[in-house]
Amino acid sequence: MSNIMNSIFDIRLLDDLARKETIVHRIHPLVKFLTTFIYLIVVVSFGKYEISGLLPLLIFPVLIMTLAELPLRPILKRMLIAAPFVVGIGIMNPIFDHQAVSIGGLSVSRGWITFLSITLKSVLTVSAALLLIATTGMDKLGSALRMLKIPRLFVLQLLLTYRYISVLMEEVSRVLRAYAMRSPQQKGVHWSVWGSLAGQLLIRTFERAQRVYLAMRLRGFTGEYNTGGYPGIAARDIAYMAGWTVFFVIARIYNIPMLIGSLFTGVIL
């Protein structure tokens, strides 16, 4: 119950964040989309023992979050939501890989290193995806997908699904609230009403879809979802993507912390 209210709140929050007007929000949606994808590929391409090499890539989410003036807490909260599966699989590594390695005189099991690497990758990839939607918004992302020649039917359907999620979540939460009030001391939905509870909702949804379609036809829907068009890609957008890509590639080829570290220790010793 609280779960579903939280989810409605989450979607609204990301929608609000996407409506801000900052430098990052003004970047062309397609450019942001592609940059995020390059970033994800670079992060994921690191080997399973890599930790230090991944650290410079942290600057991407940090910089976007600050430049786009996004709040830290909700983003962090969502990273934790994504964690269980990754941590669940990753935690098996220390159990199955005991071989010890020495780092700065400390003996560490290799399994923990791979676990740490997976966790770090999870933080980087999850934050990148969330920041993409929090700085772009669903409609603009839809227009970016159209520019990538993703079929109209799919994009239209994606945007409609998105549009109706909050409507239907509210409906579900009302049904659940009514059910909870009539069945005290029960955690979930009892099996005797599984079919009727969800089934009623489904039938109602089916009818809603018919009304939605008729309403759309009355307003001149011909199969095209008009996103209002989008200005072309400017020099600024190209610079944004090129700048980040160069940085990602450098961070991938050279271990930047290692270079900085040897510079420091080299000076001291």
Partner: protein
């Protein structure tokens, strides 16, 4: 059950994206043109329904266990496999973007795992043949129950394969399978019961919703041969990815190539060492790599997948120390940049306000 980006390698992610894109393109082509427009709002609203209904907690009294509504099979039953698959794809896309439930690179695999097996395997091969003999409460119940369980089992098995091919986990295949399949059998049974209850309820109240979808034009053309062809293609893709991995470099690909040179240099005895060092000088990216070249490179090599394994003992404490110092410095720098920008922004907004 959603794959995360952190657990997938670019090659596996890319292969699964390719497979999913192919199936999606095929599905779009198969959706009858004249139904298109009419069906889009239905797909959108039903997708939103599944999304919302997945948050309902269905409990089994006395056992303490509970389950959720599985989307793929239900959508296939209501909309047909093509529209069902596409709708499932958009649900998973929105989950990945807004709830960080499954990553963007892993999205291809997630759509495949949760959409393909239900819409294109268990729906046409299990659900349809059973209800084809004529609708009855028992048949509908059995058909959706069995199809849901098997669909989830196949999906869970695909998660195991994708994770192992990505080489991020140390879990042995047997252990992983022994973990995943029973868990998803338990989940699948509850899921199957929920779907069966919902579908039979809707059939009782509004039989045309269930019957029209199955007999309708959209699905009439799914032949078993088609399904087998798609499955074979998927198998080839999987096989291709697998052999790629078995052959040599696990991830870094060309990067790991030139770093292998560094490994050999460190591990070989003196005589060969010099020869190899000469070769390495020619082959490595930056021959006169400035800062304490050998150590730096060895540590970098150690960071690489399979090749790195051999070189682990070669990491000396000196490199590790500079690694730790550098890592700390990088983190501090990142924090300073972030804090400076946000404090500058605050100042600016204070002035303007």
């Amino acid at each position: 059950m959603h794959m995360a980006d952190a657990l997938i390698s670019p090659a596996v992610g890319g292969a699964m994206w390719a497979a999913t894109t192919g199936i999606a393109a095929y599905s779009i082509k198969k959706l009858p043109k004249e139904m298109d427009e009419n069906k889009i709002p239905l797909m959108g609203v039903m997708g939103a329904f599944v999304f919302a209904a997945q948050m309902i907690n269905f409990t089994i009294p006395g056992t303490g266990s509970s389950g959720h509504l599985g989307g793929g099979l239900l959508l296939a039953i209501l909309l047909g496999p093509y529209a069902g698959f596409l709708t499932m794809a958009s649900i998973l896309t929105i989950q990945a973007l807004f709830f960080a439930d499954g990553g963007l690179l892993a999205l291809g695999s997630n759509i495949f795992n949760l959409g393909f097996f239900t819409c294109f395997v268990t729906y046409p091969l299990i659900y349809k043949p059973i209800v084809a003999k004529g609708y009855s409460r028992t048949r509908i119940f059995a058909a959706s129950f069995i199809a849901a369980i098997i669909g989830l089992q196949l999906g869970a098995f695909a998660v195991v394969l994708e994770t192992l091919f990505s080489g991020k986990t140390e879990l042995p295949f047997n252990t992983f399978v022994a973990l995943m399949q029973p868990i998803h059998l338990a989940i699948g049974i509850v899921e199957g019961l929920v779907i069966a209850a919902v579908v039979s309820f809707v059939w009782k109240e509004r039989p045309e919703i269930i019957e029209k979808a199955t007999l309708g034009k959209a699905i009439g053309s799914t032949s078993i041969r088609r399904v087998v062809t798609v499955l074979a293609l998927a198998a080839i893709l999987f096989g291709g990815v697998f052999s790629w991995f078995a052959s040599s470099s696990p991830d870094g690909l060309e990067w790991s190539m030139f770093r292998t040179a560094g490994v050999e240099e460190l591990e070989s005895p003196d005589g060969i060492h010099r020869v190899l060092a000469a070769i390495q000088n020619k082959t490595s990216f930056l021959p006169d790599y400035g800062f304490k070249a050998p150590e730096t490179e060895s540590a970098v090599t150690a960071g690489e997948g399979e090749e790195g394994e051999a070189s682990w003992p070669a990491v000396n404490s000196g490199t590790s120390v500079s690694g730790l110092v550098g890592a700390g410095f990088t983190l501090a720098l990142t924090a300073v940049i972030g804090l400076t920008i946000s404090s500058l922004k605050k100042k600016k907004s204070n002035i303007s306000a």
